[in-house]
Subunit: 492 residues, 2 copies
């Protein structure tokens, strides 16, 4: 099967993003850009894209197409299925590019423009084949964000628009067909409205850039990432619905809540129009359902940011640390006393992102909880972030989990840990997971201490060896757990 | 230790959200609301909060405080550390409430108002102790979104503002102290600017509510959830920085990109002011670092939405399905042929959210990949979502993982699966994980088929039994894997 071909005119951050989109969808990509730095610049974008974008999929992406650079527009676009123009925002330049492109490209190819501000009728003006040119406006980073605004005019027939959308969908994008052309399309109008208001807030000394960013990313930004503005307000209206929300907040349109006071007239017709569209969009769900979907989305996204220790997730990590500092959680071996018994190495609720299609905690999250418990035990014996950065860490070599009971959303679980062996470079752990006094699972784990420079097995550092030895000695006096050392399917 | 006490005046969606915030931080909450439905309404919000909010933490939250309802404002606020007013947006009503509150509350308590639009000076006007009253404006859902805007006047001394922020932080919130009072504070000005622009887009027939929501949640909404607007534009400026970005897009302020044309004058001073603030905010990171942080955040958030099958995540799931439909991935037993060997049950890249502090794929994600492989095998033998909904599923009883090699970011892994036993209600699987031909891990799994009505073991349904038997019979001819049936630490 021959590969599809994309001809890209202009290779900056946006052109490079398009190159990544097409290459990672298995297209061949041919670039024309007179900038002598173009190859380096596209290479940098591609490096970012290769690092991040394949991870969006839970399947293997098709093999990347080939990337080539060309000395002329004609060479780059000959035989291409899709041509994307991403040159600077100067209309005369863009029109000149289209003339050269159309002299060399297939009449059936789509010519998309990355323009933020020009309307397609302006781009088509004077073209040999106006019907071939559309706006295809993407968002940075192009290789990750799915949105692309597709805007045409009456000169574009429906078949071309449909074909353009189909090709864009094939690259993993979401082609939003804009009904009427308008300056700045849709998304940039909203961005520009916010940007203008932000400039006022800074100019008037109300807030700094950082405070405004915090106001966005700790609040409505999280809502918008998953539902946008209308569905969010639909929920705010409660069971009374969108009409109620609009009537409640309609009067605010007359208040000086923005610097920007040229507002639409708040008529019954406007309310009906929007309430009707909102019903069409989400009327199949109750507000209660929407609230739970929203909440689950927010928890999952904030938890994703916790792993990155960023934004709202960083805040939550700081909160967890504050709770642990005040609730008696053991963090250091010194807190254990002289002859410690099994050590509590985790206490938490089962979050929504730990469930599976069977409605209970999914098996991998049992191991996640046990691995967190192992991390806590490491911290307790002194193998903390400083130790790991300077010296060594533990790698798990083997794990044996037995699932004895189900855990459901929100249930509080606790992990208790017994050290079966801790000497030289070996650490053999036994975790038990409880909900109340109900045993949910056991985890037997064999870990090896490694030198982080060589990533090879190495004896415990002396900072941690003493603590491990003391706990292991004390735990040697405990009963050996019933399931320790068992193989799968072995008789009891 | 005696618990802190919150007195809440008004218990709708916002008041209920505050109740959840305080209760889940271990405060006692006393509510006054004349609405006879208040208890039910707060109960519904609390139910949502209890379902979702504890999952935000990776530690156990403190025990919830107690919730009580009171017949008078005086009773609800007596002895309270924090009083929160969330009554309808009518100034006369709010002032009447403060008079009653101040007649009964401690002089040292903080009185916060949930007002969206009123300025604190308006709320303090005529109060017995104006210095006790501040705006504390939260965002719905209050129990999940951290942002709360704290706005005071010169009547509030710094100690009170600091104490207010400290208490709010204790509930897991992010108190943003707004420097100057202004109508609608900060976030609602941005929301209102977008809302007004959205009303124009709908009124003018450019887009429907759903199209606008899609333009937000498939594009800039994802950016804003983690970085806000200024840091996003800082990155867009590239290494040339914020000043370059502003100069590039400054002229657009004069273009008709919004209906809202009352823009700040674009002076050198404005550019310097914003570029300086942006440097202070993020100048410690290179643009390259910021790009990678942004990309990792986006991938992690979109992957979180994939698990919820929502928004940008739903798109990515659809894309995965399209790739699998075209790349020869086996989905049904019929595709296997008569005497299948080990079955490829997964192929994917290692995504950023699967790494740990040791810089490699974390142990729980090995099990995640094996569990996905098990799910694929179930699908292949006919235990798909329809079967699970109608009849039965498989629960994993035991797992034994051996880690033989490290997997790094972006590496492509493949899982191959051998059925060791499949009869009655038992399924015994052997997964091997490869990167190229390098064996990274083995997973031995013992699963039990269950009746989803009783959640007890039950024989395979006949739709799947035949497929399992045929694969098991064919795999009986394969070599038994070296590690199968071994216990941890057992000699080879």
């Amino acid at each position: 099967m021959s590969r599809k071909i994309a001809g890209l005119i202009g290779g900056g951050v946006i052109g490079g993003g398009w190159a990544a989109r097409f290459l990672q969808a298995g297209w061949d990509v041919r670039v024309f850009d007179p900038d002598p730095q173009a190859e380096r610049k596209i290479g940098e974008v591609l490096e970012n894209a290769r690092r991040s974008a394949p991870g969006l999929s839970d399947v293997a992406l098709p093999e990347e197409g080939t990337l080539s650079f060309h000395a002329t527009i004609a060479e780059a676009v000959a035989g291409a299925d899709w041509i994307q123009e991403s040159v600077p925002e100067r209309l005369d330049l863009k029109l000149k590019v289209y003339a050269e492109v159309q002299a060399a490209c297939d009449a059936g190819a789509v010519i998309g423009s990355s323009t933020s501000g020009f309307k397609p009728s302006e781009l088509q003006d004077g073209a040999a084949r106006p019907g071939q040119i559309v706006v295809a406006h993407p968002f940075n980073p192009v290789y990750l964000l799915p949105l692309v605004e597709v805007v045409g005019t009456e000169a574009n027939d429906g078949e071309l628009i449909a074909r353009a959308q189909e090709m864009l969908r094939g690259t993993g994008m979401y082609p939003l067909h804009v009904r009427k052309e308008i300056d700045a399309h849709i998304a940039d109008r909203l961005l520009e409205a916010v940007w203008r208001e932000c400039l006022w807030l800074v100019t008037d000394g109300i807030a700094t850039s950082e405070e405004i960013d915090d106001a966005i990313r700790f609040g409505f930004g999280l809502r918008w990432a998953q539902m946008g503005i209308f569905d969010t307000y639909r929920i705010a209206g409660g069971e009374a619905g969108m009409k109620y929300f609009m009537e409640q907040f309609g009067p605010a349109l007359k208040w000086p809540w923005t610097k920007l006071m040229d507002v639409p007239e708040f008529t019954e017709e406007l309310v009906e129009l929007i309430a009707g569209q909102s019903d069409a969009q989400s009327g199949h769900m109750s507000i209660r359902e929407m609230e739970q979907i929203r909440d689950d989305n927010l928890v999952a996204m904030i938890r994703a940011l916790k792993d990155r220790n960023w934004g709202a997730g960083k805040l939550m990590n700081e909160r967890d640390a504050a709770i642990m500092a005040s609730d008696g959680t053991v963090r250091h071996a010194e807190q254990l006393g002289d002859a410690p018994g099994p050590i509590v190495t985790g206490r938490r609720a089962v979050p929504v992102d730990w469930l599976d299609y069977n409605g209970h905690m999914t098996e991998a999250r049992y191991l996640h909880a046990f691995a967190d418990a192992t991390t806590r035990l490491m911290e307790i014996v002194g193998c903390d972030q400083d130790y790991i950065a300077q010296k060594g860490s533990f790698f798990t070599a083997e794990t044996h989990i037995r699932h004895l009971g189900e855990a459901l959303l929100g249930q509080r679980i606790e992990i208790r840990t017994q050290v079966l062996l801790g000497e030289g470079k070996k650490l053999h752990l036994w975790h038990e997971m409880f909900e109340g006094e109900r045993l949910l699972a056991t985890g037997e784990h064999f870990l090896v201490h490694v030198d982080m420079a060589t990533r090879k097995p190495a004896p415990f550092g002396e900072q941690i060896a003493g603590h491990i030895a003391r706990i292991a000695a004390s735990h040697a006096g405990l009963l050996r757990p019933e399931g320790a050392g068992r193989a799968i399917g072995a008789p009891r």
